[in-house]
């Protein structure tokens, strides 16, 4: 399936670059990778003028690793181009997998974001209310910027995706393993997430300290109490996404004595990570009284931001409903 010296490409859209750092974190191993594959381009190591990629033969790239979510017209165009030129398109990292943290922007609309950034900040002096423009004439010089879309989308909401490598960022180990799999001659089923398909608790160092009957009468925020360095964080009352999150990171955050925030996304059997952790935690309450139930659940200050930290665009609802239908871009035309 994959030729002896496969051509590999990297590109990034709305992301922070952490995923590529993860690749660099292969450290010494990076030299082996370089030996095994032919890196035809890195995000910045090659001219990405649309026509240059267009000029490439379809499928001439063996595998493109694309990280970052899709927020601007430019990113969308690039995603389409790379898809057409690549045999395999791999979504690398939470942002392209599920939308990632920038996906939280789907709780707001485009205009309010632009106003917040360019008009409202206390340090910004912008009495004229200037906003960046897609097309602008600056004394006769016409300048263009990519369109800032209303909605952040995961890569597979824009183009067909073959595989996913989860994580914010994926650990070097996860990335290396995934690369191995792709270089191997039996490719996994299309659409697979290249990481263990079990929840994080499976590999959590604190697994044994979790009681058999975890029931909640209150959720704790880390600044409210000291965090025991040995005990299961959920058992301590901290909201840990571990039970609803795919394993593979070796519980790095928990080893750092903080709860899992869910960056590896749900298992293959779950369609909506947030709904699942919600269902799990809520059911474990003790109270049968509506007021008391609301009080306990009230100790989760930000359900959406917590349950969907990395997966809002990839969730079933994808974004907050905009006032005034139709929903762009969700509504059919």
């Amino acid at each position: 399936m994959i030729p002896c010296k496969p051509k590999v490409a990297f590109y990034w859209c709305a992301s922070c670059g952490g995923c590529e750092e993860a690749v660099v974190d292969l450290a010494e191993a990076i030299l082996d990778v370089v030996a095994k594959v032919d890196i035809v381009f890195w995000p910045v190591a090659m001219d990405f003028k649309r026509k240059d990629i267009e000029s490439m033969a379809a499928g001439s790239i063996t595998a493109t690793f694309l990280n970052g979510s899709i927020r601007t017209s430019e990113q969308e165009e690039m995603a389409h181009l790379l898809r057409s030129k690549s045999q395999l398109l791999v979504a690398l990292g939470s942002c392209s997998h599920l939308g990632g943290i920038p996906g939280l922007a789907n709780l707001f609309d485009r205009t309010s974001i632009l106003r917040e950034v360019y008009i409202q900040p206390p340090s910004t002096v912008n009495t004229g209310g200037t906003l960046p423009q897609a097309h602008y004439q600056d004394n006769g010089h016409s300048l263009e910027l990519p369109v800032f879309h209303e909605t952040v989308r995961s890569l597979d909401q824009v183009v067909d995706v073959d595989y996913y490598i989860p994580g914010c960022p994926p650990t070097p180990k996860t990335f290396a393993a995934a690369l191995q799999t792709l270089l191997s001659h039996q490719l996994p089923e299309k659409g697979s997430v290249l990481a263990p398909d079990c929840a994080l608790c499976d590999e959590c160092p604190r697994k044994d300290t979790k009681p058999e009957k975890p029931v909640f009468s209150e959720f704790k925020r880390p600044q409210q109490m000291l965090v025991d360095e040995q005990k299961c964080l959920l058992a301590q009352g901290f909201l840990c996404m571990g039970p609803a999150t795919r394993a593979g990171c070796e519980a790095l955050c928990v080893r750092g004595n903080m709860p899992c925030t869910g960056c590896y996304g749900p298992t293959s059997r779950v369609r909506d990570q947030g709904a699942k952790i919600l269902s799990c935690l809520a059911a474990l309450l003790e109270s049968k009284d509506e007021q008391e139930i609301d009080r306990v659940l009230g100790t989760i200050p930000d359900p959406v931001g917590t349950f969907y930290r990395y997966a809002l665009p990839g969730s079933l609802l994808r974004r907050k409903k905009l006032d005034g239908v139709p929903q762009a871009p969700l509504a059919p035309r």
């Binding site: 597979d156 009681p211 058999e212 009957k213 975890p214 609803a244 749900p266 779950v270 269902s279």
Partner: protein, 669 residues
């Protein structure tokens, strides 16, 4: 995540869709032809037909033949509620050699044709539901029912005529029966009656033999003065906890000689006698009534001096002597029994006429309830069978008012069914005992039943007066000398067309029947339903009148609705037969809707363990994963919904099957 394909399921899925007209029940509102032809165009549908009655033999045959001819491997039947005919059509699949669970039913009768009138919308809704079923069924998997052995003993709750009859039938069939009665004696309401309509044979004469039979039957364990407090398990294997209230008399030692009662420091009874509805008094130590079963006295701790002050001479203990049956230290005790089936025969209570002030009960001493009059007339009653009023007079005129607490928007809307007949009976008996003039005030005279109408005719001949019309009120307000010192019944005579004032010495209120006060608690205890009136709900009003929605639990007698003695006995027999049929099968099939852990997917997060109300989920330390005990699992699916990594699956209610159904109903246009 990648989009899950809308119609998944293997390529070789071949679905047959069958739309039932149910005569005009469905076809009258739903365009069944359009529906069938719509279904024919859905993915994977190989055959789609509509037929007059799918549940009929030819209807079933139709499916069987198609399965063979078109080698169908999935079936959708759009007809009535699955709760009615799912079993029927599953059998069809089984006969045709298909796994019965490859069926999906669509409820286009109860949920469509019967609740909507607009043909277009009803048909569109039916299409949505069929489309959803077609998508769902493609994901169905073959399932095997579980067989579990059945404990061949039966619990009967309630020692009235229904409970007694059911217990005897089962015991005679050689089954171990536990009969639990909360009162100190069995007998129920029937034991209070004097005669029974229409034959006028004496209630005691026909009941007492059955009562003693129960008391002495080798296969019946009788627990009086006891209550069921906990019910666990499932059909064929129930575990029940019974509380024995202390009667402060050792049942094994008491021989019912009643010397203790005579010896009691109270020379006269001071406490209103429950059995006589307070028309007489009893002592703190007493026997409910002469024919009580078991013949064991009981001490009422609220009135017994020993209990109140601890300073009683305890003459009862002296009287009991070396038998040492009396035991003031007795405590309540508990007992666990295991049975395969349960029959509930917890009976009814009579309407409390205080709730209807205009009839003067509690205000005028000479206003009685029908049940009180039963006691007055009864030879073993407070007056030894003499009809003497509270003021000592003998009535020369008596008014019997029907429908007190029945057919009345202000109390109970239902007809209590037995009142007309017992009112006629009482009219006859009162006339017989006193020769008084008797007036019956009725709304309608309801006498369906063998020999009932004839009995009514007989009463007419006996010169009992009948006034057709609602009674406005009962008062002692005399407007005419002839009314002085009498109770005046004001009623509209709808036949004569004017309001009558009829002065009488005695008023009898024919009170209606109501569910027991604690009917709701009892039904929760046994996990069955009640109708909105509070009567226990049968599985089907026609086809399963003594079954409930909980397998292995049956209902008999007036706890299911107002009934006279013959009906109660008949129903008790039916319930006994059902129970017998169940336990004689020795094993029972359970729905396979159980949940199972996908072992290598489970992360061992333990979230599911506290969710199971049946402790079916345990944590296996060696594997560090959860495990579900299939036998304990009842298939509610709560753990499935709660598993944060989707690692629990429920048979027949798998996530993907439900997603298909949801997306199916919404995939319109």
């Amino acid at each position: 995540m990648p989009e899950i394909p809308s119609v998944s399921g293997p390529e070789d899925v071949r679905i047959g869709v069958y739309v039932c007209h149910c005569g005009t029940n469905i076809a009258g509102t739903v365009d069944v032809k359009a529906l069938a032809s719509y279904a024919a165009c859905l993915p994977h549908v190989a055959v789609s037909r509509e037929y007059k009655y799918m549940c009929s033999d030819p209807g079933q045959a139709l499916i069987e033949v198609d399965i063979a001819e078109h080698d169908l491997n999935r079936i959708v039947v759009a007809s009535c509620s699955p709760l009615l005919h799912e079993a029927t059509f599953r059998r069809v699949l089984a006969r045709a050699g298909l796994n019965p669970f490859l069926l999906q039913m669509v409820n286009i009768r109860e949920h469509v044709s019967w609740v909507h009138s607009d043909r277009k919308t009803a048909t569109e809704k039916a299409k949505d539901l069929v489309r959803a079923a077609v998508r769902r069924v493609s994901l169905h998997k073959p399932l095997e029912k579980r067989r579990v052995p059945i404990n061949p003993s039966v619990l009967v709750v309630g020692g009235g005529i229904a409970g007694i009859h059911a217990a005897l039938k089962l015991a005679d069939a050689g089954k171990q029966v536990y009969l639990v009665e909360r009162e100190p004696t069995i007998g129920g309401h029937m034991a209070m009656f004097d005669k029974t309509f229409p034959t006028l044979d004496c209630a005691a004469c026909i009941l007492t033999p059955k009562m003693t039979a129960v008391g002495s039957h080798p296969n019946i364990k009788l627990y009086t003065y006891s209550e069921v407090v906990k019910v666990d398990g499932y059909v064929g294997n129930y575990k029940v906890r019974i509380k024995h209230k202390p009667r402060y008399v050792n049942e094994d030692l008491c021989i019912g000689c009643q010397e203790c009662i005579t010896a009691c420091v109270y020379k006269e009874g001071k406490t209103p006698d429950e059995f006589n509805l307070g028309l007489s008094k009893r002592k703190p130590i007493y026997l409910a009534f002469p024919q009580a079963v078991p013949q064991k006295v009981v001490i009422d701790r609220d009135t017994c001096i020993e209990f109140k002050s601890g300073k009683c001479k305890k003459t009862c203990i002296e009287a009991c002597g070396e038998r040492l049956a009396i035991d003031f230290k007795q405590k309540e005790t508990f007992e666990e029994i295991e049975i395969g089936a349960i029959i509930l025969a917890t009976g009814f209570k009579t309407f409390a006429p205080e709730r209807n002030p205009s009839c003067g009960y509690g205000q005028y001493p000479n206003v009685y309830t029908s049940l009180e009059v039963e006691r007055l007339i009864n030879a073993s009653g407070p007056t030894g069978g003499e009809v003497i009023l509270r003021d000592g007079k003998r009535p020369t005129s008596v008014g019997i008012i029907h429908c007190i607490g029945s057919r009345d928007a202000n109390s109970n809307r239902w007809c209590s069914k037995v009142c007309c007949m017992y009112s006629l009976k009482l009219a006859h008996l009162i006339k017989e005992h006193t020769g008084a003039e008797v007036f019956n005030f009725y709304i309608d005279m309801r006498t369906p039943g063998k020999g009932y109408e004839e009995f009514y005719d007989r009463l007419l001949d006996e010169g009992v007066h009948f006034v057709r019309g609602r009674v406005a009120d009962v008062s002692d307000w005399a407007v005419h000398p002839s009314e002085e010192g009498k109770l005046v019944i004001r009623a509209e005579d709808t036949l004569a067309g004017f309001v009558r004032r009829i002065p009488v010495d005695m008023v009898v209120l024919s009170v209606g029947l109501e569910p027991q006060t604690d009917a709701q608690d009892v039904r929760r205890l046994f996990n069955i339903s009640c109708s909105s009136e509070g009567w226990f709900l049968e599985r089907h009003p026609k086809l399963a009148p003594v079954s409930t929605f909980t397998e292995g639990i049956y209902i008999a007698g007036a706890c299911q609705g107002p009934k006279d003695i013959p009906d109660s006995v008949a129903q008790a027999g039916a319930a006994a037969a059902e129970a017998l049929a169940l336990i004689d099968a020795q094993s029972v099939e359970l729905e396979p809707y159980t949940a199972a852990i996908l072992e290598q997917d489970c992360s061992g997060c333990k979230s599911c363990i506290p969710l199971c109300p049946y402790q079916a989920i345990t944590f296996v330390d060696e594997k560090k994963k959860a495990y579900i005990n299939e036998v304990l699992c009842k298939g509610c699916g709560t753990c499935v919904a709660g598993c944060p990594s989707g690692s629990i699956q429920q048979n027949f209610f798998e996530d993907d099957q439900i997603f298909e159904e949801i997306e199916g109903v919404l995939a319109y246009a």
